[in-house]
């Protein structure tokens, strides 16, 4: 920069001023984030809950939201298992239906370290210890199994053991435990394919670029019955490391709401609501053959 002298000095001064303004701003955020410890734990009523907006429970999920978890890509209609569970949790916490607001939260935004826009996020998040370093999980609301699906013309149609899947070209959606089930459990000889969405994976399955697709069991039932022509469930996979996989609600790390939300989920399990909703929305998921 070849500025004349006064201009140079002026530029330096304004730069310094701008930077000091930035520095002055930064710590100011702190006061917003500070959790007010007085209201945590015992008091779980809407007045005492530190929700993002007073008296409103903001719930996040991704868009599109898939069946059977959500119906018609509209989480606010109360239909579909996760939508129903979300409203049940809201009710348990004392929020009425019109005090619930849904927002679209992508997977990355849900797990990123920045401030969250939602009070909790419901989107088939599997609970793992490793992930607890990044987010809070509520108590689990659903025990999930992974399953292999395919089309009738595929070479793996009719397979009954994991060993029979060893040479299959398998696929899964990125970021899912379904993919982990392939690499850790089936351990195929062909590198598995990874897709952005289950829609892309389904297309690849229909095209024959993959032989089979691993999804969670409710999705498996939905895809084979409603989406795939001649779709069949090969079978469900045994739990990874012998541990039951569970879905939990995702909250910001150290969220003041975690305890209350967990209590609500626990109460719903104890009074049978969760089982009832599961029966209603995921009822047909019984009876898939086990892969051994």
């Amino acid at each position: 920069m070849f500025l004349p002298r006064p201009a140079r000095v002026a530029a330096a001064v304004s730069l310094a001023v701008a930077l000091s303004a930035v520095t002055a701003c930064a710590p100011a955020d702190e006061s917003d984030d500070e959790p007010d410890t007085s209201a945590s734990g015992s008091e779980c009523s809407p007045e005492n809950l530190q929700t993002k907006r007073d008296g409103i429970l903001t719930i996040g999920t991704d868009s599109p939201a898939y069946p059977p978890w959500f119906i018609d890509n509209d989480p606010s209609n109360g239909q579909g298992f996760e939508s129903a569970v979300a409203y049940a949790v809201a009710e348990e916490l004392g929020f009425s239906e019109d005090q619930v607001e849904w927002i679209t939260v992508t997977f990355n935004n849900a797990i990123a370290p920045g401030p969250k826009d939602f009070d909790f996020d419901i989107n088939q998040f599997s609970i793992t210890e490793e992930r607890r370093n990044a987010v809070d999980f509520s108590s689990p609301y659903y025990d999930v199994r992974q399953a292999v699906i395919t089309v009738e013309t595929s070479p793996i149609a009719g397979a009954t053991t994991l060993a029979e899947l060893a040479d299959a070209r398998l696929g899964a959606q990125v970021g899912t435990t379904s993919y982990q089930a392939i690499t850790d459990l089936i351990q195929p000889n062909v590198e598995p394919s990874v897709f952005n969405t289950n829609d892309d994976a389904r297309q690849a399955l229909e095209n024959g670029t993959i032989d089979g697709l691993v999804v969670d069991l409710p999705t498996a039932f939905y895809m084979t019955s409603a989406e795939l022509t001649n779709g069949i469930i090969v079978g469900q996979l045994p739990p990874l490391d012998g541990q039951q996989e569970q879905f939990g609600l995702v909250l910001d790390l150290n969220s003041p709401l975690t305890d209350c939300v967990s209590q609500a989920v626990d109460a719903l399990r104890e009074n049978g609501t969760l089982a009832e909703l599961e029966e209603r929305w995921l009822g047909q998921t019984a009876g898939a053959p086990e892969l051994t």
């Binding site: 730069l15 930077l19 970021g175 394919s193 690849a204 790390l253």
Partner: protein, 296 residues
């Protein structure tokens, strides 16, 4: 001192030793002071900016968590093998697609610069191609090829990797065609006229006179597109293959920690540095050759 004598013999004034005038010495001192002053000011302002940035970032309320999420050494080490394996796919794709796209681009540019009414269909096709595929988003072309073409269920359909590569070659070929054409058209018509008047055929003129100059002239933008291609080949992962970014995404989804992305980013930069350095060197050499040597 012999020089002294010779000059004396020549009857010229003996050249005295160079003594700068008072004014010249003042000018030089002033320049030195100015250089020193600039140096000090630059150092101070750099230090102020650097320290402020460090303070702002590390002093921010979320720094500890951001550090844990994006710059976690343990997670980085865990993710490195998978990400590096993904990068190997990027590299192989890059080499294949670069060769393909350069060939397609050059042929298209030659077709577009053909004269003569008989070549109109070829020119029109080449023009349509460059218009269409420079406008078409790469991701859409990829979707059509990797999900659409296998859906036809033709026998002998190549793997999605090849189909994805074709999508990249088609899209980048269109960009490169325009770069090549710009180079060809930047060669002065008198060059062509001179070559033809020497008896060279159109093909010989292109081969020996126009293209060597044209390609040299556009090599910087060509290499630029190669660097861009290097980053875009990874988009093929939407078809299923696992590239470096996809591998990082998988690792991130397992741990909810974003460090694998940073690892992939660093690897990409390391991969790009040689290419960028070559670009700079080629640009510099071309500039030297085209301007009179030593004129600058």
């Amino acid at each position: 001192m012999t020089a002294h004598k010779t000059l004396e013999v020549g009857g010229l004034e003996p050249p005295t030793e160079y003594h700068p005038s008072v004014w010249q010495r003042e000018r030089e001192a002033y320049r030195r002071r100015q250089t020193f002053r600039s140096f000090v000011i630059a150092t101070i302002s750099t230090a102020v900016v650097g320290v402020t940035l460090v303070l702002v970032i590390t002093g921010s309320p979320g720094w500890e968590r951001v550090k844990q999420t994006f710059f976690n050494a343990e997670v980085a080490l865990d993710a490195l093998p998978a990400v590096a394996e993904g990068l190997w796919l990027n590299l192989r794709l890059l080499v294949g697609c670069a060769i393909g796209a350069l060939t397609v681009g050059l042929l298209t540019a030659l077709a577009r610069t053909l004269r003569g009414p008989v070549f109109f269909p070829l020119r029109a096709l080449a023009t349509l191609y460059t218009y269409g595929f420079r406008g078409a988003p790469l991701i859409i072309v990829l979707y059509l090829l990797v999900f659409g073409v296998p859906g036809l269920r033709l026998s002998g359909t190549p793997s999605v990797l090849v189909l994805g590569g074709i999508a990249l070659v088609i899209t980048y070929g269109a960009y490169l065609a325009e770069v090549f054409r710009a180079g060809i058209e930047s060669i002065h018509p008198s060059q062509v006229a001179a070559a033809r008047s020497l008896g060279l055929t159109y093909r010989q003129t292109m081969r020996h006179v126009v293209l060597p100059q044209a390609i040299r002239r556009v090599s910087p933008p060509l290499l630029n597109d190669m660097v861009a291609l290097q980053k875009d080949v990874g988009l093929i992962s939407l078809a299923g293959p696992i590239d470096a970014i996809r591998a990082a995404q998988i690792e991130t989804a397992q741990s909810y920690n974003f460090t694998p992305y940073v690892v992939a980013g660093v690897l990409f930069i390391l991969l790009a540095i040689p290419l960028i350095a070559v670009t700079d060197w080629v640009t510099l050499r071309a500039a030297r050759r085209q301007s009179a040597e030593g004129a600058r």
